[in-house]
Symmetry: C2
Subunit: 111 residues, 2 copies
């Protein structure tokens, strides 16, 4: 079931607007960034942004914390790290049968 979870999180990153949000969140660090700041940086309607944020929250990638009128968005760094760890461990680990290395070409017999 962990694969399903990872897939759900990757799907959220797999949208240009949300990946842009993700990037802003990473750069904002643990102090977070307000919804308004994200909106002004990405220049999209609030309702659209809200929709994307709620999706990212739903899969645990980030969370929100209100401070007065403004809502701060903060990446769940440990969740992101788990996702990266999954990709590396399940898929790209150096001790896996097939290590991902830059390979100019597959061997002639196959690809």
């Amino acid at each position: 079931m962990e694969l399903e979870f990872a897939a759900a999180q990757l799907a959220e990153l797999g949208h240009s607007t949300r990946l842009a949000i993700f990037r802003l969140l990473v750069r904002a660090g643990r102090s977070g960034i307000s919804v308004g700041d994200i909106q002004s940086q990405l220049d999209i309607p609030g309702s659209t942004l809200s929709h994307h944020l709620s999706r990212m929250i739903k899969v645990g990638l980030m969370q929100q914390q209100r401070d007065g009128r403004t809502l701060f968005c903060c990446l769940n760094f440990q969740v992101v790290e788990s996702l990266m760890a999954f990709l590396v461990a399940e898929c790209c680990a150096a001790d896996n049968p097939a290590v991902i290395r830059a390979q100019p070409e597959c061997k002639s017999g196959s690809c």
Copy 2:
């Protein structure tokens, strides 16, 4: 425009069936794995599998090479590596303002 490209690739990984395919491809290494082998391991209809494969090919994650009657699928390792590099460089690089480290909790002021 690189973000759009990365998002498109992540979107393809963001589906449980395709992530399972991706995992098989990584483990198959550069010798690849046949469509039939993928199908029998995942136990899904051929047309469904074919649909997912074509999507992954479309964004450059993998390619196919025919050998007689069987088609071998091979991950484009350099493409995958580029994607990982993008995630690390643009989003999670250790020299970025915010490094991704396992953080038990955000500081009290925000999240």
